[in-house]
């Protein structure tokens, strides 16, 4: 991700794909309150995605608006991290993904709120408040599941083990970006370690670290997600909705 366009696009894609996955939970959550909470977080992510993609379109200057960027790009053109496109799995996997994503987005948006680009700063200022809520919600469930029953502990540990390798991609150095992701690692690691400890969970050893999302080289899951998301828009070229 190079330059302001690529940066805004990558962040917008993270938020958009995260929203799409979270919204899949609607009507399926373990309790009704959680249906409301997950839809709420999905809406926040979607809101941030719309601001970021609209701005990316302006920076690109090729006449693409938020919908052109969301619905008319193929998976090789998407710049989201792999973490957000992973399938929802069980509730523990979803909470592991949400927790890691929020622990990354909160310091990211916080730093962004002070950056020189006024538009990005405004987006960061709005989104960081929402991220703080997402992190709180994710942390609470990681603790509840980790330190709940034997069954929930087993599932939460399995979810952390499954998802952890994908966090490394989030912090790949990019000194030219408005916020260099590498500078966020210490904050992320401290937050994550504290919650995992309290949840009686162990952090996996460093090892396999899949990446490629920022270059448009995704997992096999993204194409299916886009096929569903884009089907109606693509079936009616040029239509207004």
């Amino acid at each position: 991700m190079t330059g302001p366009f690529g940066f805004a696009l990558a962040l917008g894609d993270d938020a958009l794909i995260a929203a799409q996955r979270l919204a899949e939970w609607t009507t399926r959550a373990p309790e009704m309150e959680e249906d409301v909470a997950l839809a709420n977080i999905a809406l926040d992510q979607l809101g941030a995605a719309r601001l970021l993609l609209s701005y990316a379109g302006e920076l690109e200057g090729a006449g693409r608006d938020e919908d052109a960027l969301a619905f008319l790009r193929d998976d090789r053109e998407f710049r989201n991290c792999l973490l957000v496109e992973l399938p929802n799995g069980d509730f523990a996997v979803t909470m592991a993904k949400l927790f890691f994503l929020a622990a990354y987005q909160l310091p990211l948006y916080t730093v962004l709120a002070g950056c020189a680009d006024e538009r990005l700063a405004a987006i960061g200022a709005k989104a960081r408040k929402e991220s703080a809520y997402h992190l709180d919600h994710g942390s609470l469930w990681v603790k509840r599941l980790g330190d709940g029953t034997e069954e929930s502990h087993r599932r939460m540990q399995a979810a952390v083990d499954q998802v952890w390798p994908y966090v490394h991609e989030l912090f790949a150095p990019d000194p030219a970006a408005p916020v260099d992701p590498a500078t966020l690692w210490a904050d992320f690691e401290a937050r994550v370690a504290a919650v995992l400890d309290e949840a009686t969970l162990t952090r996996p050893e460093a090892g396999w670290a899949p990446a490629g999302g920022r270059d448009g080289v995704h997992t096999e899951h993204l194409s299916f997600l886009l096929a569903e998301m884009q089907v109606l828009h693509r079936a009616h070229p040029g239509a207004n909705w």
């Binding site: 373990p30 809406l43 239509a239």
Partner: protein
């Protein structure tokens, strides 16, 4: 952002929203003037006191004495209403992942979230009558309590999302606005809040259809097809004709219901005809015509045999809707158990610290 695209007269729901506000004012006034009669003493006639409160258009509150049948009727009605909000999330939720623009996706997601909120709010109102939410959910899951027949129809195209907003939420509002003046306080207050949001949803549905009917030929055809499929199921939402309605007379006497099924259905038809004209859509009823002497539209009644089949469980999606709800509940069991275990551990730790 999307609320100002239509003038107040053109947009649906304008007059009804006024009625909701009037009901809210009446509710506040009733609370301010207080009851004509004081709370009854132990030796007083409770039934007479109850009748007097109803007669004076005051509200029955949770701690008041009430006839057992009044309590049971309200539990049944409020619970079915809550279940309808929860099951009703499914047909619309079906299109969140495929919504054709990001703006529409956000609006739809927010709407389905509102419905979950309405469900929670209504379960809380039902709980004031001495039954727990867990019991009510159990009654829904094992099929012993019903939800609105309309949610057993499938959403086959994006236009169905518009049709549900316009017609289904429209019918719901026509049904629910009089409930804002219902004699049971917690239900009346819930209805005021719910109707305001429903009115907003109906407007959004109307707007989806308006955009489609002013779009491409394929979009317009999609909108007409949705109206063709949703018109009669929406009319059937008002329940069987007055001649066959089992609960009506007593509910009217108790001021739970204020109008009969047929009166509300007529009101709904009269409201929709003009709106369909604005949309440029044709209501699929060759018998629909203005009746000068009644100052209302004559229309063809829905197929009540079909309504009965759907209510009894043989509609297109009954099995699917119930199975979806049961699966979410079953698959979430381990999560709810974890939350309980975690809360217990925390309480224990706090106790140890205190000791």
């Amino acid at each position: 952002m999307y609320g100002n695209d239509f003038s107040a007269e053109d947009a649906p729901g304008g007059g009804l929203l006024g009625e909701v506000e009037a009901a809210e004012v009446a509710l506040r006034e009733a609370a301010e003037r207080g009851r004509r009669v004081g709370a009854p003493g132990p030796d007083q006639d409770l039934a007479a006191y109850f009748a007097e409160v109803i007669e004076a258009d005051q509200k029955i509150e949770p701690r008041d004495w009430m006839p057992e049948a009044y309590r049971k009727t309200l539990i049944r009605q409020i619970a079915q209403h809550a279940h309808s909000e929860i099951i009703g999330m499914q047909p619309e939720g079906n299109w969140i992942s495929r919504a054709p623009s990001l703006k529409r996706k956000a609006i739809l997601l927010a709407k389905v979230q509102d419905e979950a909120g309405h469900g929670l709010y209504l379960y809380a109102a039902a709980e004031t009558l001495g039954i727990s939410r867990d019991e009510l959910v159990e009654l829904l899951l094992n099929g012993r309590q019903k939800y609105s027949s309309i949610f057993n129809y499938p959403t086959l195209t994006w236009a169905d999302v518009g049709a549900i907003g316009w017609l289904v939420d429209g019918a719901a509002i026509v049904n629910q606005v009089p409930l804002c003046r219902c004699s049971y306080g917690p239900y009346a207050r819930a209805m005021i809040r719910v109707c305001k949001e429903e009115s907003f949803h109906q407007r959004q549905g109307f707007e989806i259809l308006h955009t489609l009917t002013h779009g491409t030929g394929a979009q317009k055809a999609m909108a007409q097809d949705a109206l063709d499929r949703w018109w009669y199921p929406s009319l059937a939402m008002f329940g069987p004709p007055d001649t066959d309605s089992t609960h009506s007379a007593q509910s009217m006497a108790w001021k739970i219901k204020r109008f009969s099924n047929d009166e509300l259905r007529q009101r709904f038809v009269d409201m929709c005809v003009q709106q369909a004209e604005i949309l440029g859509l044709t209501i699929p009823d060759p018998g629909l015509r203005w009746n000068e002497s009644r100052q209302s539209y004559d229309f063809t009644q829905p197929d009540y045999d079909e309504l009965m089949r759907v209510i009894k469980g043989d509609g297109p999606c009954n099995r699917q809707r119930a199975e979806h709800r049961r699966r979410a509940h079953d698959e979430g069991t381990w999560v709810r158990e974890a939350a309980v275990a975690y809360a217990a551990k925390r309480a224990e730790k706090k106790e140890k610290v205190a000791a």
